[in-house]
């Protein structure tokens, strides 16, 4: 990254450093499972309900239960107001999160049912979909849903020519040089498979593989935080 215009990160982190993370489970007692996940200025909350009978009936799958994810940002989550309700962006994120989580859960024991995952973002400072995925994976585990493995997600970015782990909003809006690129990634905890990979911006193939490796490493830290939350190491509101 010798000739990059972005040399030092705005918040003083090293390029491989993630923002301080915090997670807890059991935040919504009435739900079957719930969790929050925080990274820096981003906070995600996930609630799981089900497995329960799926309506409308024509959506039911007689072979397996299905997963339904809904992602949304709260109106006050950013400085500008977010218009509440479904948008093109939130529908897309719901869908990619659903596919990412589908890779780790196993609902074959609950045919004709649905597991609903609701992801809400009370505070947004970039990386909301990965924070949402981390919270959703926690909430699914907390709900006792059969899962082959856990899921951890992180966004790797590029500001001009510098690759960065866990970009924040200021870095995401970097305009000089090559501008900003955002690569949200999700890895499964055991096989380390990629279950989410999106790319927004410009990046060379070699840089992309480097970004993926950086993400893989950072997800280890994420997984540790998730594990602590589930094992009650944080001692917070475990239910």
């Amino acid at each position: 990254m010798a000739g990059s215009l972005y040399k030092k990160r705005f918040d003083g982190r090293t390029v491989n450093e993630v923002r301080p993370m915090k997670a807890s489970v059991g935040v919504v007692p009435s739900a079957d499972g719930s969790a929050t996940f925080e990274t820096g200025g981003t906070k995600a909350m996930a609630v799981v309900r089900g497995p329960r009978t799926l309506h409308p009936q024509h959506m039911q799958n007689a072979r397996t239960g299905i997963l339904r994810v809904s992602y949304g940002m709260m109106p006050f989550s950013v400085w500008d107001r977010i218009r509440p309700g479904p948008s093109r962006r939130s529908e897309e994120i719901s869908k990619v999160c659903e596919w990412a989580l589908d890779a780790v859960i196993d609902l074959s024991g609950f045919p004709n049912t649905v597991v609903d995952v609701f992801i809400q973002i009370p505070k947004a400072d970039a990386g909301t979909r990965v924070a949402g995925l981390n919270a959703a994976a926690l909430a699914l585990a907390h709900a006792g849903i059969p899962m082959k493995e856990m899921l951890s997600a992180i966004a790797v970015g590029k500001a001009d020519k510098t690759l960065l782990v866990d970009v924040d909003k200021a870095e995401e809006d970097f305009h000089d040089g090559e501008g900003a690129t955002d690569v949200p990634l999700a890895f499964t905890s055991r096989k380390k498979d990629i279950s989410l990979l999106q790319l927004d911006g410009k990046i060379s193939p070699s840089e992309l593989s480097e970004a993926i490796e950086m993400g893989r490493k950072a997800c280890e830290d994420v997984l540790k935080v998730q594990m602590d939350a589930l094992k009650g190491a944080t001692g917070e509101k475990n239910g």
Partner: protein, 255 residues
């Protein structure tokens, strides 16, 4: 079979108390080809891996992961408490808080019911104690033909989480017998997290309800029995040795 089962439950609990290891999905519980993955676990090469979040339980090389949170999953032999939500031509549909409704056929009730007057026997909104007869992917079949099962009349039904049920029942039904002995109320615990309390007077019922709720809130505490004993003393209830042996002994069959 019954005795053998009961014995295995006792030793299971002993092991559980010894090593209550909480595992997360995808975590290796134990390594070695001699171990067998059971409920909530699967094999990956030489490792036995947790297939859900819960407490890992290794008994005679058999690995299980018992959930500590989440929804109720019915199993054969469970006692459940639910409400009638639909009447079909040959039975009733019961909502018990699970993924699907349970089906109670007319043939599985203790007396003859005229198919034209099924609501006379069990009407919408009425509560029943039933036994899970069969768990299929498409639903749950239940029966109320045995002693201790039937329509609920009087008393109160309270909801605790399904994961607190083993603590409310206690080892070999010790906890529920203690409540019964102290309050004189009949306490029936459904594995789906519903508890039916019925006594001679409301005060006693309320006392029993308070104790059950206390256990529900403190289900993860160590030395819960002593705390409940203290609570019973504080409430001024005389904890005479329970004469009644649990009516639903199979309620202890907690997986």
């Amino acid at each position: 079979m019954g005795v053998k089962n009961a014995l295995s439950i006792i030793s299971n609990e002993k092991i559980m108390a010894k090593e209550r290891q909480i595992v997360i999905p995808g975590e290796t519980v134990v390594s070695g080809n001699e171990f067998l993955p059971g409920d909530g676990a699967y094999r990956d090469g030489a490792d036995v891996v947790a297939g859900r979040y819960g407490i890992a339980n290794i008994f005679e090389k058999h690995v299980k992961v018992v959930p500590v949170s989440g929804a109720y999953y019915p199993r054969r032999g469970n006692t459940i408490i639910g409400t009638i939500v639909d009447i079909t031509f040959n039975g009733w549909l019961i909502d018990f808080g699970g993924a699907q409704n349970a089906f109670l056929p007319v043939a599985e009730v203790p007396r003859y019911v005229n198919k034209n007057e099924m609501a006379e026997f069990l009407n919408f909104g009425e509560s029943v104690i039933v036994k899970v007869w069969d768990v299929k992917s498409r639903g749950v079949d239940v029966s109320m033909k045995m002693r201790g099962y039937g329509k609920i009349e009087g008393g109160m039904i309270i909801s605790v989480g399904p994961n607190q049920v083993p603590r409310i029942i206690g080892r070999e039904g010790s906890m529920v017998n203690m409540i019964k002995g102290a309050t004189g109320c009949d306490v029936t615990v459904g594995q789906n997290g519903k508890v039916w309390i019925s006594g001679k007077d409301t005060d006693k019922e309320v006392a029993a309800r308070k104790i059950v709720e206390f256990i529900g809130e403190n289900a993860v505490t160590v030395g819960l029995t002593e705390k409940v004993e203290k609570m019973i003393k504080k409430m001024g209830l005389e904890g005479s040795a329970p004469e009644i042996v649990a009516e639903n002994t199979d309620a202890e069959d907690v997986e």
